[in-house]
Symmetry: D2
Subunit: 180 residues, 4 copies
C-alpha cells in the first residue's frame, strides 16, 4: 500500500488547513522538554522555563514543546524543538533512552485532565534535558528564566504554566528527586 | 479556536480515505501491549503472542496493537485494544503509570530502524500488561500462543514477528528481567 | 571463598547487637511500598497509609516498609513486608519489573536529604503496589487509612509522614500521574 | 538511639574481617555503571567494558562496579566508582534520576539467578552513564574496551562477562534501544 504522491518540498510541514483538518482526526504527537542545569554530582540546580506572550497579550510560562513531524524520529524532533526554543548554542544532552518521564495528554476541553490544549488533542512525550551551553530563546518566546527547584515548585510558577503544565513540571521535579 | 463541525457519529473512526490522507501527514499514535501471566511472586511465566494471517496468506506473529483515537485517553485505547485482541474476559490489569517500557518508532521503509510499518509512520507506546482471565482472540487474529520467556527469546519466534517487533519483544523481556 | 559457618536457624534475622553493628558499617537495604486501589481503567482511587504509634506515644503516618534479608530476593522481601503490614488477605499484585519508582535514601541526620532515619543509613527501593483483597494491618501498625490522591497530597498528611516520607509519597503521586 | 562511638578515620571502609562478617548478615548495596559514548543525536555509539585478570589468572570482562559506603549517597558512590575504574578525566555525566535501569541481584550460588557473586549477596543499582573525556582504567582493570552495540551483544562478549553480567549488559542494550 505504498503511497504514490508528489514528494513534499517541505516534508513534515502542513498548511494551516491540512493541520486543522488533521487535528480533528487524530491525536497529534508532541515532544516536550524541561531544560535543566546540573551540578557535578548530577543534581539539578536550575530548570529553564519559557515566558511568552499569548495571542491575547497575556504572558504565560511554558516548556520547550513541538510536534513530531511525519518521517521524523522522536530524538530528531526533540533536538529540533530544543534548538527552536533555546537557540543553536544550548548544547542539549539528549536522553539515553527515549522512554519519557511522563506521557502528557492534552484534551481540547479544560477539566478532563489537568492538561488541556484548546487547539487539539495532543499527546506529548516529556523529557528532562540537561543543557550545558548558552540558551537564547527565539521565535515567540520572550525570555528563558532559570529557576531553582524550590522556585519552580512555588504556586506562583506552577499556576502560571500554560495548559495546566504546572502538573507536568511537578512530575519533572518528582522524577529529579527535588520535589521536597 | 473551537471547531464548528457536525458531530461525528462514530467519533475517532476515520474513512479509509481520511485515514490514508492523515497517515501521509503526521505520525500516527499507537499503543501496543505484551500480555503476560505472572506467578504469585510477580515473575512472568508466559507471554502472549498473537498469530495471524496476513493479506498475502503468510502467517506472522504480532503483539496487541491499535491506534489511539481522537479524544481517547491512552489508558482507554490500551483497554479497548486489549479487549479487541484478547476478548472481553481477559481481565487485563492496566499499568499503574502510563510511562511505557519502550517508545516504538515504525517507519514506512524497512532498514531505517529495526521496526517498520509499510502503511505509515507510527509511534507506539508499548506496555506489558498482566492478564488473569481467559483470552479469546477475535477479529483477524487466529490464535493466541502463550510462550515461556525462553521460548519467546528464541530466534524462531523473534524473527517471525511482524514489522521487526522481535526487537520490541526483546525489550519487554529485558524490562521483565527474564532475558537471560 | 565459600563461607564455612553453622547454618543460621533463622536465616536473615539478626540479633539486636549484630543489627546495630551492621547498621554502623553499611547502608541497609529496604523495600517500601505504597499500596493502592485502582479503578477498572488503571487509575488510582485510593492510597493506603499506615498510622502507628511511635515509642514516644506520638502518632505518625508511614508506608509499608522493611529490610531485605540476607539471601532474600527483592520480590520476596516486598511480598513478605506487604503481608507483614497489610495481613495475609491483601492480595498484592507485585510489580512486573523490580525497577522502583524511586530510590529513597535515608540518612541518620535530619536535613541532609528530605528523608532521614535516626537509626541508620538506609536505602529503600520504593514501589507502588496494587492490592485487591482485604487489608488488616498487624504488628505495631494501628490502622490503615485509604486516602484519595487529593487527600494524600494535602499538607496535613504529607507533613505527618515519618522520616520525611511525605517527599516520597509525592513522588508516588507524580509517578501515578495524580499530583495535580 | 544515636550511636556513641569513636569517629572512623576512614569512614565507610571496613576491615577484611568486618566486611566478611557484614557480608554474612545483610545484602550489600552496590552501584554498577555501563559507560557509553553517544553521538549528537543521543544514540549510543560505543559501550565501555572492562577487561581484568582474576585471582586465578583468567581474564574476564566486567562493568564499573563498587559498594555504596556507609554515609555515602548513591550519586557519590556512582561518581567515586566511575573515577576508580575510568580515571579522573572521564567526565561522566551522572544520570538525572537515581532510578536505575535495572536492579541487579547477585546471590552467592550460581544458578539461583543469572547473576551471582561467590563472595556475597549483593544488590546493585545499575546505570548507563555517558562519558565525554578520556578513560584510563586504574587498579586491577587492565584495559577498557569500547564496543559497538552489535559487538557488545555478541555471545563471545556476553558469555565472558563476570558473574553472569551478560544478562545485565543485554538489559542495558535494551534500555538504550539498541538490542536489535
Amino acid at each position: 500500500m505504498a503511497s504514490v504522491r508528489t514528494p513534499d518540498p517541505n516534508p513534515g510541514w502542513l498548511s494551516d488547513f491540512a493541520l486543522d483538518e488533521t487535528r480533528s482526526r487524530v491525536p497529534i504527537l508532541y515532544v516536550e522538554a524541561v531544560p535543566v542545569r546540573m551540578d557535578a554530582m548530577g543534581r539539578v540546580e536550575h530548570l529553564g522555563i519559557l515566558l511568552r506572550g499569548s495571542a491575547t497579550g497575556a504572558m504565560s510560562r511554558t516548556l520547550v514543546s513541538g510536534r513530531v513531524m511525519h518521517g521524523e524520529s522522536v530524538r530528531s524532533a526533540l533536538l529540533r524543538n530544543l534548538e527552536k526554543d533555546l537557540g543553536p548554542a544550548a548544547f542539549p544532552q539528549l536522553p539515553l533512552s527515549t522512554v519519557p518521564f511522563s506521557v502528557a495528554e492534552y484534551f481540547p476541553l479544560p477539566g478532563v485532565t489537568p492538561l488541556y490544549d484548546e487547539r487539539q488533542h495532543a499527546v506529548a512525550l516529556a523529557y528532562v534535558v540537561q543543557v550545558t551551553g548558552e540558551c537564547e530563546p527565539r521565535q515567540d518566546a520572550l525570555e528563558l528564566t532559570w529557576l531553582t527547584p524550590e522556585e519552580a515548585a512555588s504556586p506562583s510558577v506552577l499556576d502560571d504554566m500554560e495548559g495546566g503544565r504546572g502538573a507536568l513540571l511537578k512530575e519533572a521535579l518528582a522524577y529529579l528527586g527535588v520535589l521536597a
